[in-house]
Amino acid sequence: MTSSGLELVTGSEVIARAAVDAGCRFFAGYPITPASGILAAMTKLLPQVQGVVIEGEDEIASIGFCLGASATGMKVMTASSGPGLSLYSENIGFAQMAELPIVIVNVQRMGPATGAATTSAEGDIQFVRWVTSGGYPVIALCPSSLAESYSLTMECFNLAEKFRTPVFLMTCKELVMNQATVSASDYKAPLTLYRTVGKEPSLPYHYKEGSEVPPFLAMGGDLHSRVNTSIHDERGFLATDTLKKERALRHLSEKIESHRSELEYLKEDLEEGAKTLIIAYGLAARTARETVRQLRRRGKKVSLLVVHSLWPVAQNGIRKAAASCENIIVPEHNLGQYFSEIRSVLPDKKVQSVTRIDGKMITPEELMRCM
């Protein structure tokens, strides 16, 4: 994508495009504001590349279709908002347990429950971390612009394939339904990854170390495979032995936790001598960028760290960026869900939480008041 000039486009279209470019050939979803635009965009795009798109009878069916298709080896995606994520919950656990790659886009809106369908919020940050039973780690990326929506959607597919796990794109109404300009040269496509395919039949969950991701065997492929929602051994059979059970469950954690350093997606805009660091993600990162722009124009020193990987928490990068700063400001469109994470990563710093939950964006003035 090298042509010069600007494009006026919605986030829905950008995410759909990125999915297709990442090799996604199966999408199932159920209509919900503000995520319906992604279903519509996929309905337009996927048939053109011989892909399958289907509107499920509900969110449970939609993610179920996706997981069935994923088990045949397809790259799959679904998209919804808070109420839909609630319904996805049990199947997200299934995807973790059965190690089925899937990308789940959560276009956040004001919650809880039906909340306000057309009002932006970013209140699902902790929800997505603990979205299903068991408490095993999740991977969640969060764009703050349309160009990032493109590259991070593609990254989500790469991570889902690489780690054989559900991966979340955490975005919001404002970034998905609005139209905005993107410079064509800003769309950056990462190298596309595919899951490693197994060579041993009947060993769909074979790994030597718990931190390894087992090579994949497709449903309906030449090599015999099994998928199992219950705790299973390397053959996919129900594990009854305590040691085998523990090994299987620790593996679900270790395969992600041992790769934490690879999963740190951050964008630093640090200024030497700055004592204030704004740490922001999603919509609030936009206000943060505007604030930094205005302050620097006035000759004031300030640093910014935009977090693109919400889960696991990018501890090393956050510590490094905050090393020479005293005042840390964390703006969020919720009651401070990531503030608690930042505070535990930076126990020796003064960390301030700025929150807003009336559907409006935090203003640059609100952030400047914390300096």
């Binding site: 000039g5 053109q48 069916a61 279709f65 059965a98 139209q179 492929g221 998928v227």
Partner: protein, 432 residues
């Protein structure tokens, strides 16, 4: 061949019907000569879900009642596979929505319901098929609800193949083979005995089962056999030829052609009117004109869920840098074309600056320190009033050159709309 004989016996209670049905499935697979590498068995929770490991084919064991959705996903992804579901009456209850919709869509999966009228795995609670008056762990005084006739339910939902059989039927394998050979969705309601719970609590042996069939006026055997277009194939048949793997995903870029006139600060604008006044599409025209000048644009539209009624509002930000902060708390200009539009923007009018601009339809009552310009609606059609207002705006405020906006209007594909807009621009030009 499809069952690992060495693993037997099956992990079921003595006398459980599951054994007969699974054996019949094994024989049916042999009859249809299913390729084990292209055959997938999908199961979920309940006693029948205990036997995945006995099958030598691909197996997929999922969550309770969701097996229909996984099977559908597998079939949609790869229509060449034989996909069948082994589910209990419990799964047909909790996944009932998925069952009827899979039948309605006619996705070519074959569902065998192991229907033993209660939850065996969890200790004999009633299910959606337990009979009126029947005793279970959760209906000790006799069931007050009537059970689902699963076959009738699925038939009503549109399944082209429906059959009801007893687990004892000698020709059960024949019926299963018939279902497996059918093109589309197929459903078999197989009546069973649960020797652990339902049978002892209700004295429900084979004669009682037959008496129940008689009493309820039900039929046995194949109840429906039709040929309807199968969904995963129809889906593919309806596709147009490939336009290339990536051609569809290229951005639609507008190259810079004109110089904008905007100072460094972003320009924040609200267009407010009513449905049918082309507010949103005209905001897009201004946006495209700005793009032709290399400006960044953000556009946020607001209208009621019920379209073609009520207000229509677009918030726009034009900027020489990428627009980061998306709020329009204090607009630089507001265009108001109707009372409904005014109601939506009334709050921001008093906070506007003195040197900012309001372009409003004549006769609206406004309270604002901003400079107000009135437009006479009689000069323009309802749909082109916004064009005239935008034309006035770009004449009065250094934003984008007239030629850029004129070019965008000239590019409108629909001839009637294009001409109406060009006419409005002409009138507005002479009027200002």
């Amino acid at each position: 061949m499809y069952i690992n004989e060495e693993k037997k016996p099956y992990p079921f209670c003595p006398g459980c019907s599951h054994v007969q049905v699974i054996e019949a499935i094994n024989r049916a697979l042999q009859k249809v000569e299913a390729d084990p590498r292209r055959t997938v068995m999908v199961s979920d929770i309940g006693c029948v879900g205990l036997v995945d490991s006995f099958f030598n084919i691909h197996t997929f064991h999922g969550l309770h009642g969701r097996s229909f959705t996984y099977a559908a996903g597998i079939k949609l992804a790869n229509p060449d596979l034989n996909v069948f579901v082994m589910v209990g009456d419990g799964g047909c209850g909790i996944g009932g929505h998925h069952l009827i919709n899979a039948a309605r869509r006619n996705i070519g999966i074959k569902v065998i319901a192991f229907n033993n009228f209660n939850f065996g795995m969890t200790g004999g609670q009633h299910s959606v098929t337990s009979f009126f008056g029947s005793k279970t762990r959760t209906t000790p005084g006799g069931h007050l609800e009537r059970g689902f006739d699963l076959a009738k339910l699925v038939e009503a939902a549109g399944s082209p193949f429906v059959a009801r059989k007893l687990a004892f039927d000698k020709d059960l394998d024949e019926t299963i083979a018939l279902a497996m050979r059918s093109e589309g969705f197929a459903f078999l309601d197989v009546w069973e005995v649960c020797t652990a719970y339902y049978m002892p609590m209700n004295d429900f042996k084979k004669p009682a089962m037959e008496a129940e069939i008689e009493k309820l006026g039900m039929k046995l055997g194949v109840l429906r056999e039709e040929c309807l277009p199968e969904y995963s194939c129809t889906l593919r048949a309806g596709r147009k030829g490939s336009e290339g793997e990536t051609a569809v995903t290229r951005p639609i870029v507008i190259a810079k052609k004109f110089e904008h006139r905007l100072p460094q600060e972003p320009f924040r604008l609200i267009l407010a009117g009513s449905a049918g006044m082309k507010i949103v599409s005209s905001a897009g025209y201004l946006g495209n004109a700005a793009l032709k000048c290399g400006l960044h644009v953000s556009q946020k539209d607001d209208f009621p869920i019920t379209v073609q009624s009520g207000h229509s509002v677009s918030e726009m930000i034009l900027s020489s840098e990428e627009v980061e902060y998306l709020g329009v708390d204090k607009p630089d200009a507001v265009i108001i074309l109707s009372e409904e539009g005014l109601a939506k923007v009334r709050k921001v009018l008093p906070v506007m600056e003195k040197n900012s601009l309001v372009i409003a339809r004549e006769g609206l009552s406004l309270e604002t320190p901003a400079k107000v310009i009135a437009i006479d609606p009689k000069r323009f059609s309802n749909k082109s009033l916004i064009t005239a207002a935008l034309q006035s705006l770009i004449r009065l405020v250094p934003l984008v050159p007239q030629e850029a906006f004129f070019e965008v209007i000239g590019e409108i594909r629909n001839e009637a709309i294009r001409n109406e807009n060009l006419k409005a621009m002409e009138i507005a030009r002479s009027w200002l």
